[in-house]
């Protein structure tokens, strides 16, 4: 079933477009409800009820919040660099959304005889791509802070950028140890290995811990939300932003959280692997499409857990001081990640002999 025009598989293009639209809208919806969930989780942990007025259980709250943000007055400061000022939140949003391209959301589905992979781009360098895009997120922060032409925003942006760059280092190092085990940078291959064998977190508990901590820092979540330290920097890099441009910055944080949860689930917790189930057997009984649905649901359950973990930690731990943050990143996590890498290398070499 190939309809070729100009020697190009047009169905492939349509398939990918549908996937892109689907995944982008899913991540937007999830980010919306993350804001709701965050408030609910915070409320429950503080013996309150949280939003419960808009719709049943406050489920329409994100819509109300969005409407409020859109209705607010849009201010661009006179002294700011207009183009960069608008570019900042766009970049933050873009970088947050782009990461989702290489994450395998489920197995294959069978669409009228055509095999469709539930992954936008199954590239050989999946993890490197994620790293490249994640480091782009720094531009959003940095440009936003710079373009505001506000000393406090600039300071906060500097902090945010240096924090993001500092924590990318141990994150990469902890991943190298993982890559020694998997021997591949391809996301689908990493998941495929975990489908048959054990989840990578069993082999790499320390690596996962380092990755988790760095993910918190990369997403600018408490306890690492220093760019937003409202008491010292009276609001951080998005201080001059108003209306939906501010909303985009906040939204990007929630999308980042969703994507990094997905990455963690994929790399360390078996991706769409259903625990305790032989996937090949189940596929034969329920069919390919249903199986893909189950797998996607499993992945989303894992992602949900990690998102909850993000919130749980946020409402437990106070913010780090900046020197403590840098101390932890450079003096604790980098050596730990290096040690983890060396030990993994030694064990891999020893076992292969």
């Amino acid at each position: 079933m190939y309809s070729t025009l100009l020697a190009f598989d047009w169905l492939f293009l349509i398939e990918k477009l549908v996937l892109i639209v689907g995944i982008v809208s899913i991540s937007l919806v999830i980010a919306m409800y993350e804001t709701w969930a965050e408030r609910k989780v915070a409320a429950f942990m503080q013996d309150r009820r949280g939003p419960n007025r808009a719709g049943p259980m406050g489920l329409l709250q994100p819509l109300a919040d969005g409407l409020k943000l859109f209705m607010k007055e849009e201010i661009i400061p006179n002294t700011s660099n207009r183009m960069l000022f608008i570019l900042g939140p766009c970049l933050a949003m873009l970088a947050a959304m782009m990461t989702s391209a290489v994450i395998p959301w489920g197995g294959k589905i069978d669409f009228f005889g055509r095999e469709v992979n539930l992954q936008i781009a199954d590239i050989n360098i999946g993890i490197l791509y994620i790293f490249a895009v994640v480091s782009m997120g720094v531009f959003g922060i940095m440009i936003g802070g710079w373009a505001s032409n506000n000393k406090f925003s600039l300071m906060a942006a500097l902090r945010g950028a240096s924090q993001a760059i500092s924590y990318e280092l141990p994150m990469g190092l902890s991943l190298i140890a993982l890559l020694m085990l998997t021997g591949s940078l391809k996301m689908s291959a990493i998941v495929g290995q975990q489908l048959d064998g054990t989840w990578n977190v069993v082999y790499q508990p320390l690596g996962f811990l380092i990755f988790l901590i760095c993910a918190f820092a990369e997403c600018n979540r408490t306890p690492f939300d220093l760019p937003e330290a409202e008491n010292e920097l009276n609001f951080g890099y998005h201080q001059e932003y108003s209306s939906m441009k501010l909303g985009f910055y906040l939204f990007a944080e929630y999308i980042n959280m969703f994507i990094s949860s997905a990455v963690m689930a994929t790399l360390y917790f078996g991706g769409y692997d259903i625990p305790g189930v032989n996937d090949a057997h189940l596929t034969e009984t329920v069919g390919v499409n249903l199986m893909a649905l189950f797998q996607a649901l499993t992945l989303f359950a894992k992602i949900g857990f990690f998102i909850f973990l993000f919130m749980w930690v946020r409402w437990t731990i106070p913010r780090f001081r900046y020197d403590q943050l840098m101390n932890l990143g450079w003096k604790k996590l980098v050596p730990l990640a290096l040690a983890n890498m060396i030990i993994t290398a030694a064990v891999v070499l020893w076992l292969k002999k």
Binding site: V41, F44, M45, Q46, D47, R48, R49, N52, L209, W312, V313, W315, T316, I317
Partner: protein, 185 residues
């Protein structure tokens, strides 16, 4: 120095143990604490549907009472104004004219009766001073206002609804506590 309570405890300055210095374990303990609160009973009261129960001795907004036939009880004797430590009450007396017997219970009545809610301390001394059971403190709050003059309550704000024309509103304004007191008299 003598300790004020028996709960004082000297500050511990022991160096941290290895587990404490790892910090992660303590974070985990903290997370368990927050998780416990997840399942605790909520302290919040969903306001418009539920209201906080008032203490039986709660003293709220003043009400100028009427008798069973809807006549004002106040005779403008001024005892409440004298008793008021915050000097929040001012009144002007007037004489009842023939034909107004259905409005006022006695020959003298308050033509003007004002309570300045900005001064009032809700002590309840006016209620105690009143020989005619004409003023008492009900079970509602004085609502907030944008202007100072809005918080000077005149007779229209204070008078209880007429028990014959608006029996339900009257009962609501009377509240539980005043009801009992009313019956005792």
């Amino acid at each position: 120095m003598q300790a004020l309570t028996n709960r004082a405890r000297p500050v511990e300055r022991k160096p941290m143990t290895f587990v404490e210095r790892l910090y992660l374990w303590n974070i985990f303990k903290g997370m368990l604490i927050t998780l416990k609160h997840f399942f605790k009973r909520k302290a919040t009261i969903s306001y418009p549907e539920q209201t906080r129960p008032f203490s039986p001795v709660f003293r709220g907004l003043h009400v100028l009472n009427r008798d069973e036939q809807g006549r004002e009880r106040c005779t403008a004797c001024g005892l409440c104004a004298v008793a008021c430590p915050a000097e929040a009450i001012t009144m002007e007396a007037a004489e009842r004219k023939p034909g107004e017997e259905n409005l006022y219970r006695e020959e003298k009545y308050a033509a003007k009766y004002e309570i300045n809610m900005l001064r009032c301390i809700f002590c309840g001394l006016c209620e105690e001073a009143c020989p005619k059971d004409a003023i008492y403190l009900s079970e509602t709050f004085a609502p907030a206002n944008y202007q100072r003059k809005g918080l000077i309550y005149g007779k229209p704000d204070l008078l209880i609804p007429n028990p014959q024309e608006q029996p339900e509103e009257y009962k609501q304004a009377l509240g539980n506590r005043a009801n009992k007191q009313h019956q005792a008299n």
